[in-house]
Point group: C2
Chain length 555, copies 2
C-alpha cells in the first residue's frame, strides 16, 4: 500500500482526476431552461466543477446562437482549455437548430456501392461542414464518426447512424469524414469500440452481448477503427457491450482486455480513449457513479464521459490512487493526451453575433445523392431518373397518412414542413399516426389497419422510421407490409414515402405495383421531404406556408 | 395640387415615411432560420430598410438569448433609436423561450371577482415582470395590455387574452398592468381599439362586424381604453373591425371617424396610434400593401404595423404626400410622437451573455391564484381548498386522454411535461387527440366518442382548449359535454383537467358527480399542468423525467 498523500498533494490529485471528466451540460444559458435537469448540472455546480479542473463538457440543447454564447461562458469559467463536444453525427444542425443538418451517414454508405468516388468526396465534405459548423459554435470536439459496421438490420441504436454495412465501405467513408474534420481544425471521435453494429438491443437500456470470436471481430468490426486510427483520429469512444470472447466479465468500456489489450496494444492507438456515457443503464445499473469511473480508468480509458455524479467520480478516483488501485502516472499520461489533443485545435472563442450558416449546397446534394425512387419496379437513385418521368400526382383530395415515433419529438415536422404543406396544397387531409394517438391498428393480420377511422380517398403513405436510441426497434408492432397489401386491395394506396430506415424501404418496395409513385430518403428533415415529395409529383412549384390555408403569420 | 417635391426633399420624405413603419422580422439571426419566410424579410432587405429609416421592428421566433443578440444587431443596423416590440401578452416567455411565461390575463379577471385587491396587485407585478423581461431581451415596447372586454364566450381570437368580462375589471387590471410596465421603463400598447371583445369571427381571417351603438360602446368597450389613456399608456393599437354605427364604410384601422374622431378628439389620446398588422386578411384582402398604409395614415394612425410590403408602403406614402392626399406635417407629427415615446424608455443595449431569468415566484403565484378546483360540487379556488382534502388518485393504470389543437404546435407539451409525466408515473397510458390524428369522434350524439379505440381502464381527461388566432373557435365540432356523459355512463371518467378556456370549464363542471376530481387553470404551460394534476392527486412527490420510463438522456 502506497504512503498516504501529503496534504499539499491531494488538491493536485483532485484536479488531475477532474481533468479526466467530461460532464454533461445544457446548451441553454439558464438553469430553468435545462430540458433534462436530471442529467444536466445547474450552473453553480458546473462553474464549480470547471474551476475545480473538470476538463470537458458535452452539450445538448439550445439553438446555434445560444450554444455559441454558452461555449464562451464555459471557456470563461474554466482556467484551462476545455474539450467542448457534442453528439453531432449528422451535422451540427442535427442537435443545434440553425447549423447544417445532413442526411444520416448510412445514405452515403448505400451510395458508395453505386459510386464510391462520389460517396467518399461527399463524406469528406460532410466532415468539413460538421467541423466548420462546430467551430462556429465554439465546439472543438465532434463525437463522430460512428465506425460501427451496421450488419444487423434490426439494430435499434446504430442503424442509419453508421456509414455502411460492410467494413470496407465504413473504413473508406469514415476516414474521408475524418479528413474533412481535420481540415476544419476540430477533433473527431471514432465510436463505439470495438463495434456496435451487430447488436439488436439498445445499450442505453440494457447491456447487449456480442457473441463473436476475435477472428470475426478482426474481419468485420475492427477494420474501420484501424483505418481511422491510421488516419490519425484524435479519440476512440468505447462501447457498452459484453464481448465474451475478449472479456467474459466486463463490458468493453470497463475491460482492460479490450481497451488496453486490444485498442492500445494490438491496434497501437495512442490518442484519447473516452468512455461512452457512464449514465447509460448498461453501466449505471451495475456500478455506482464513483466505481464506474474508477473501473473505466483501470481498464485503460483516458476520459470518463457523463459520470452519473462528477463529484463522486472525482472522490472515487482520488481514493483509488490513494489505495493503490490506480497509478497517478497513468492519470498524468491521460491528462497529457488530453492536452496534446487540444493543441491540435484552433482556439479562438466563437463570435455569437455571427449568424448561423448552413452549407445549403452540400445539404441539398446529400439529399439528392442518397434519395431512391422506384421506376418500373426497380429502384433508381434520383439522379439517374429521367426528369421527364417524374409522376404527376392524381386529382386533388385524399389522405396524407404520416407515421412517426412521436409528434412531440419531431423537429423535422414543424407546421410548415413539406410533408404536411405539399400534400396539403394538393388537397390531401393530414392524418398523423404516432405512439401517443389513438391506434389505427387491429389484430387482423390481413387487414391490420382500421381504414374506417381514416378520411376517404386515395392514401399517400409517409413513414418516418429509424432506429432511435431509447425508442426501441423501428416500427415494432406495426405490420407495414400487411398494411400496404390492405391499402392496395382496397384500391387506396396512391404513393409511398419512406424517411429513415433503408430496411423498411427495401421490405416495402417489392410490394408496390409498377407505376406506383414511391421514394426513399435516409433523411427525415424538411429538405428530404421536399425532394421525396417532388419525386412523387407533389412538390414542384408548391409554396410552403400561406397557401397551406392553416398557416397564419404568428404561432 | 401641391408643387412637386424638389429632388433634395424626396429622400427626406422617403425617410419620414419609413420612420412610420414597424416591420416584421424573425427573432433568429439567420435567414434560413426564419419560420415564416413569407412574413419575415431577409436580413439584407431588413438592414436596407433600417438604414433607410424604418422606425420599428416586431419580432417573433427564437429563444430569449438569441433575441437579445438579434436586438443588438438591429440597433446596430439602424442609425436612430428603434421601437423594438413583440406580442408578449402573457409574459415574454409566451413567445421567447427562457423568459417568464405567465397564465393568461383572463385568469386574473376571474380572480378580480373574488379578490380585487390581490388581482390588481398581481396585474401590476405581471406588467413589471413583462417589462423587465422585455428589457433584458432588448425590447422596449410591449404590445399589451389587451383592453378588450371579453363579453362573448365564443370569441375565437380574444378570449383568455382579455383581462376580464366587464369594463370595470378590465380597466382596473389593465391600468395596474401598465403601472408595472412603466416601472420597468418599457412602453405599452392598449389594444384593440375600439374593442374586439364581442366578436365571434377572427380578424386574422375575415373582417368582423360589431353592430353596437355608440352608447353601447361607451358603456362596455371604451372604458378600459379611457382608463389606460388616463394612466398615460404610450400607444393604442387599432382593431380590424367594422363598426357601422361609427363608420359604415371603413374598418376601425382605416377609419378617420374612429381614429381621429373618437380616439384623438373625443378620448383626447395624444400618444402613438398604431395599426394592427396590415397583413391580416381583414385588410389585405381588400387593399393593396401601399394603399392600406396610406388609408391608415389618412385615417389618423401614426404607425403602420407589418405592412404587407414595406417598400411599396413607403413609395405609396411618398406618392400620397406628393398628390396632396396626405400632409407632410401630419407625418412629421407622427414621427415626433414616435421620438417622444422613445425618450420615455431606457436605451441600454441588452447583454446577451446574461442568462434569461424567470420570475418563478410570480409565475407560480399566478398559477395558484387562478386555478379552480371542484369540491363537493362547487368550485373553489385552489388557495381556499383545505390541503388535507386533496384527492388521492385511485389505483394504477388507465388512460391519460389529452385533447389539444395540434401536437405540432404545443410548446406546453414537451416530452417531460407534467401532463404526460405525472399520469405516466401513475401507470396511465397516454392517448393524444388533436386535429391531425385519427378521429375519436363519431356521429352518435349520445355516445360521440369511439371508446373502443381507447386503451382500457379509467380515463383522466385533460382538455387543452383556448380560442387561438387562426385556429377557429375553441373545440368546434367536439361535443365534450356529451363525451363526458358517455364516459360517466360507462363508469370510466376518473378525473377532469381543463387548461385554457373558462367557458368550457364552466360548461363541463356541473356535469361532474360529487367527489370527481376536477381542476381548471387558464394556463396551459407545464407549471399549470403540475398544479392542476397535484390537485387531482396525481402530482405530489412525482419526479418529472427519468421515472417516466420513456425518457432517455438525449433526444
Amino acid at each position: 500500500m502506497p504512503p498516504a498523500l501529503t496534504e499539499a498533494a491531494e488538491p493536485q490529485l483532485r484536479r488531475l482526476a477532474a481533468e479526466l471528466l467530461v460532464v454533461r451540460a445544457s446548451g441553454h444559458l439558464a438553469d430553468h431552461q435545462r430540458r433534462y435537469p436530471q442529467w444536466e448540472v445547474p450552473n453553480a455546480e458546473l462553474q464549480e466543477l470547471l474551476e475545480g479542473g473538470v476538463g470537458g463538457v458535452i452539450l445538448l440543447g439550445g439553438g446555434a446562437a445560444e450554444v455559441a454564447l454558452r461555449c464562451r461562458q464555459l471557456r470563461h469559467w474554466a482556467d484551462q482549455p476545455l474539450l467542448l463536444c457534442a453528439d453531432v453525427e449528422e451535422g451540427v444542425g442535427q442537435r443545434f437548430e440553425g447549423a447544417s443538418w445532413l442526411v444520416p451517414p448510412l445514405g452515403l454508405g448505400r451510395l458508395h456501392g453505386r459510386d464510391p468516388t462520389r460517396a467518399s468526396a461527399l463524406a469528406e465534405r460532410y466532415g468539413a461542414c460538421t467541423g466548420r459548423d462546430a467551430r462556429r459554435l465554439g465546439l472543438n470536439w465532434v463525437l463522430a464518426p460512428v465506425c460501427d459496421v451496421n450488419n444487423n438490420a434490426a439494430n435499434p441504436v446504430i442503424n442509419v447512424r453508421a456509414w455502411g454495412e460492410d467494413p470496407a465501405t465504413v473504413a473508406a467513408l469514415t476516414t474521408a469524414f475524418c479528413r474533412g474534420l481535420d481540415s476544419a481544425g476540430v477533433l473527431g471521435c471514432a465510436k463505439h469500440f470495438p463495434g456496435h453494429g451487430d447488436t439488436s438491443s439498445d445499450s442505453h437500456l440494457e447491456l447487449p452481448v456480442l457473441p463473436h470470436s476475435r477472428e470475426r471481430l478482426e474481419a468485420i468490426e475492427l477494420p474501420p477503427f484501424q483505418a481511422v486510427i491510421a488516419a490519425g483520429v484524435a479519440a476512440v469512444m468505447t462501447a457498452h457491450l459484453l464481448l465474451p470472447a475478449l472479456d467474459p466479465g466486463r463490458p468493453a468500456t470497463l475491460s482492460a482486455a479490450v481497451l488496453t489489450g486490444l485498442l492500445r496494444r494490438d491496434l497501437g492507438f495512442d490518442g484519447l480513449v473516452v468512455t461512452d456515457a457512464l449514465v447509460m443503464e448498461a453501466i449505471s445499473r451495475h456500478h455506482g457513479p464513483g466505481e464506474a469511473a474508477v473501473l473505466a480508468l483501470e481498464a485503460g480509458a483516458d476520459l470518463v464521459l457523463m459520470p452519473a455524479d462528477a463529484r463522486q467520480a472525482i472522490a472515487a478516483i482520488v481514493a483509488a490512487v490513494e489505495e493503490g488501485r490506480l497509478r497517478q502516472e497513468q492519470l498524468e499520461a491521460s491528462a497529457r493526451r488530453r492536452r496534446l489533443a487540444l493543441e491540435r485545435v484552433a482556439d479562438a472563442p466563437p463570435d455569437p453575433m455571427a449568424a448561423p450558416v448552413v452549407d445549403d449546397a452540400l445539404a441539398q446534394e446529400l439529399v439528392e445523392a442518397t434519395m431512391e425512387t422506384v421506376h418500373g419496379g426497380s429502384a433508381l437513385s434520383a439522379t439517374t431518373r429521367p426528369a421527364a418521368e417524374t409522376p404527376t400526382w392524381p386529382a386533388s383530395g385524399g389522405v396524407n397518412l404520416l407515421r412517426l415515433d412521436s409528434c412531440l419529438q419531431a423537429p423535422f415536422l414543424g407546421p410548415t414542413a413539406p410533408a404536411l404543406a405539399f400534400p396539403g396544397a394538393a388537397g390531401l387531409t393530414p392524418c398523423l399516426l404516432d405512439g401517443l394517438g389513438p391506434r389505427l391498428w387491429r389484430s387482423d393480420p390481413d387487414a391490420p389497419l382500421i381504414l374506417e377511422s381514416l378520411p376517404p380517398g386515395p392514401v399517400l403513405l409517409q413513414l418516418f422510421v429509424r432506429g432511435n436510441p431509447f425508442r426501441g426497434s423501428a416500427a415494432a408492432g406495426e405490420d407495414w407490409p400487411a398494411a400496404i397489401g390492405q391499402l392496395l386491395r382496397a384500391g387506396r394506396l396512391a404513393g409511398l414515402a419512406v424517411y429513415g430506415s433503408p430496411y423498411l424501404w427495401e421490405q416495402l418496395r417489392p410490394l408496390l405495383p409498377d407505376g406506383m409513385p414511391a421514394a426513399y430518403s435516409p433523411g427525415q428533415m424538411g429538405r428530404a421531404q421536399g425532394a421525396v415529395l417532388a419525386a412523387l409529383g407533389l412538390g414542384q412549384g408548391r409554396e410552403v406556408g400561406h397557401t397551406g390555408g392553416r398557416q397564419g403569420f404568428t404561432d
